[in-house]
Point group: C2
Chain length 253, copies 2
């Protein structure tokens, strides 16, 4: 009881649950818990931290949402490695993102595809390049718009994977789901591309990161333009403040 009061005095504007959440993280850190190790049971934690089991459960619920822990009946609460972009899945999946956030994400996607060239080159190998090559050849034979779009996504996904950065791959996977709403590339637009996928593959074999980046920038030219249009479209609807619509994708569940 006194412990609670002390803590409340200490940080008067923070709720007990939030404080407990931090306490648990500190507890984990202090006790040098390893990955996959099991935390004390809820009641023990409650006793240790001087709060009720309810509070501990709410704190654990938060930590679970943030991807720190997994809980299984009877077995207990086990620590897992928080995958950085996993939490974003919930946020992106909610359909509650604001206009600004969407804009940021679209930009982020372009930024990532341009910026990751060095890592693609660091880990590139003939097998992966051949895989991309195969996609390109299928694309060139392709006549249907849906199929082409799928191949387009596959190609870019492949590049992300080549970067050997798991967080990036996860992130891209999420963005794919998000941006299928305004489709990435139609068959008609392909012809207009200044740089084709074929060129990119060639550069991947014989070029260098810098050349690849430049080529990729040209390849994404249409996307950049679309992003600018997107901005202008939403600039008008920008009411800001109180009445701003949270739900951007009304139809989407």
């Amino acid at each position: 009881m006194t412990a609670i009061v002390e803590r409340i005095d200490q940080e008067c504007n923070i709720s007990l649950v939030e404080q407990t959440q931090k306490d648990i993280l500190k507890y984990i850190s202090d006790h040098d818990y390893k990955l996959n190790s099991v935390l004390p049971k809820e009641q023990e934690l409650a006793d240790t931290l001087g709060v009720s089991r309810v509070i501990v459960r709410e704190a654990l619920s938060s930590l679970r949402a943030l991807g720190f822990i997994e809980t299984k009946r009877k077995k207990g609460t086990v620590l897992i490695a928080p995958k950085i972009f996993n939490v974003l899945k919930v946020i992106l999946g909610s359909g509650l993102l604001g206009r600004d956030a969407i804009k940021d994400l679209y930009e982020l996607r372009l930024i990532l595809e341009l910026g990751m060239a060095d890592f693609i080159f660091r880990y590139r190998n003939e097998q992966d390049i051949a895989y991309l090559q195969q996609i390109v050849e299928n694309e060139e034979k392709c006549t249907e718009s849906d199929e082409f779009r799928e191949l387009d996504i596959k190609f870019h996904s492949g590049l992300y994977q080549m970067s050997q950065n798991k967080s990036l791959v996860e992130f891209q996977y999420l963005l794919n789901g998000l941006f299928t709403l305004y489709p990435p590339q139609t068959l008609g637009e392909r012809k207009e591309d200044l740089v084709t996928h074929r060129t990119l593959v060639k550069l991947l074999r014989k070029g260098n990161p810098d050349a690849f980046r430049s080529a990729m920038r040209l390849h994404l030219e249409n996307q950049f333009n679309r992003q600018e249009q997107f901005l202008q479209t939403y600039e008008k609807n920008s009411l800001e403040g109180k009445g701003e619509s949270l739900a951007l994708f009304d139809g989407k569940r």
Copy 2:
């Protein structure tokens, strides 16, 4: 009661709390809630969703952790705009990131700084460039290592801000806090830089995004190398699986 059973039958491997979390998000979406609007009180939500108040509270606790809502005594639960990178603050601040995650983040930083050139150029203006110029001049006069480091961070932060992407700025702010552990750049290393901040500013005035990217890549050469070393260092300690250490920064709480 029956509602619960139905839902459990439906998705047997998901907990009621998680289901309720989704239900609340759906509720928000369905009822077209706006930003800053107030959700029904906990008991009402519980009745509506057919669960107890405890469950609703745990679900709300998760949503709060994810940055969807804020709760105030008596007033109720208000919707806020989930800032994409805000949740990462908790994760990064926990000091519980695994080796892989740290590697990903370090790479991500480099990727972002290279990739955002186009947006920097899109929004650049003389005032901002003059601000950077001023930093450069201070750097060149600077003799103390700490001060130099601060200016270095300030310069790069300025670039992020020029991109007009709030998520990026937040993200960079977080990373700054994280990567001060292995310091970004010492005074001694400055001389070795292939491209200086001064060159970058000059390109910002007279160059184009492509040239700026290339220059930035050279400027970050040391960082890239350091990142590679970082990888090799931790490759050895890589035990994977069970015993992997979660806490990377022992001393840092």
